[in-house]
Structures are given as C-alpha cells and as structure tokens.
C-alpha cells in the first residue's frame, strides 16, 4: 500500500516568493491534515479536511496561507509571499475516520521549506 506522498521534498525561496506543496493521501482516507513543524519543535496543525470540507483552519495564517482539497483526495497548501518565519517542514497526514476508534494517522515525509 502506498503511503502519503508529498512533493516537492525541498524548497528554497526568497522572502516574498510564493510556493505550493502537494499531498497525495492514502487511497480511501477521508481526513487529510497539514502540519507545520519548525526546526526542533513538534508538528503544529495548520488545517484539516474531511473529504473536501475544511474542518479546522483556525491555525492557518489566512493572509498568506491557503489550502484546498477540491475533490476530497489530493490537497495543495500554498504560501503567498513567504517570510523567513515560514521556514519549517510541512507535513501532510491522512486517516480514515470511517474506521472509528482505531483510526491511525499516517504521515508523509514532509516538504522542507527554507526562506532566505
């Protein structure tokens, strides 16, 4: 079974540039998460979807970040006008809420973003 796939694996930007990250979750998983993991810190949720609907985006900086999951499968996270403080690894994860209490969340390898 293929895992969660993310691309690109690495990105280096200058401040003010835009970047998009792409995530392909495990087939059949209805829930998709985007986390931001600054260096030497734990992952922090940015947004998560169930199918195509946003369930929680309260931690997403809405002025520069956006995320979509139009068909309830793949997802794109975009940063407009990146700042040095956005330097972090961006992790995508997916799970199947339909499995109830034994839901396991599977993580991709992440995209490491450096903003200079």
């Amino acid at each position: 079974e293929a895992g969660v796939t993310q691309s690109p694996r690495y990105a280096v930007l200058q401040e003010g540039q835009a970047v998009s990250f792409w995530c392909d979750p495990i087939s059949g998983h209805d829930t998709l998460y985007w986390y931001q993991q600054p260096r030497d810190q734990g992952p922090q949720l940015l947004v998560y979807f169930r199918d195509e609907a946003v369930i929680d985006n309260s931690q997403l900086p809405s002025d520069r970040f956006s995320a979509v999951r139009p068909k309830g499968t793949n997802s794109t996270l975009k940063i407009q006008s990146a700042k040095q403080g956005d330097t972090a690894t961006y992790l995508c994860a997916s799970s199947s809420d339909r499995e109830g209490a034994n839901t396991e969340v599977f993580f991709g390898k992440g995209t490491r973003l450096t903003v200079v």
Binding site: V4, T31, N102, T103, F107, G108, K109, R112
Partner: protein, 113 residues
C-alpha cells in the same frame, strides 16, 4: 483544550540500558494518546496508541507505554535500547478519533556505545 508536555528535550542513554521518555497530558476528558518516532528527514511513525483498557500498551520494536490517569502521564519505556533507536520521539493527544492530534515538543534520544 488538550495538550501534552515533554519535559526532556534531550535524553542520552547507553546502548543496552533501559529507557523512559516522559509525557504529561492535560485534558478535560480521557484522551487518546500516542507516541511517534521521527528519524532524520522522515515523517512520523506511530509507535503505539492508547484509547482505553489496559493502561500498559505494547508497541513496535519493544516499546511500551503506561497510561496513568492519576498522574496525567503517558511515559514511554523500553527495556534495552539499541543504537538504531536514536531519533526524536513525540507524544501526542486527541480528544477522539476524529479530531486532529496535538503534539509535544519532542525528546531527542541519543544512544551511545
């Protein structure tokens, strides 16, 4: 809101020695608790999880964790560590299976000869 605290940023142990990594949680309801491991340039891999029942849960690669409601803790243990266990370990909590997990700051484990 629920949260977890990992008080030890770094832990160094000798190969073959026992290990305990600490995790304290805060939650108004009995939480779902998780331990993950992260190797360099890799995503997080689930070691074990606790929902209910036996407070000692077994995970992969000889890891186990014990849930304590009275201490609000979910410490990770291993009887004998191997050099390949060197990694960053994260504790996480959620209030049910359908919500996102909140992570601690992680503990970097170094296993030395």
């Amino acid at each position: 809101a629920q949260s977890v605290t990992q008080p030890d940023a770094r832990v160094t142990v000798s190969e073959g020695a026992s290990l305990q990594l600490r995790c304290k949680y805060s939650s108004s309801v009995t939480p779902y608790l998780f331990w993950y491991v992260q190797y360099p340039r890799q995503g997080l891999q689930l070691l074990l999880k606790y929902y209910s029942g036996d407070p000692v849960v077994q995970g992969v690669n000889g890891f186990e964790a014990e849930f304590s409601k009275s201490n609000s803790s979910f410490h990770l243990r291993k009887a004998s560590v191997h050099w390949s266990d060197s990694a960053v370990y994260f504790c996480a909590v959620s209030i049910n299976s359908g919500t996102y997990q909140r992570f601690g700051t992680g503990t970097k484990l170094q296993v030395v000869p």
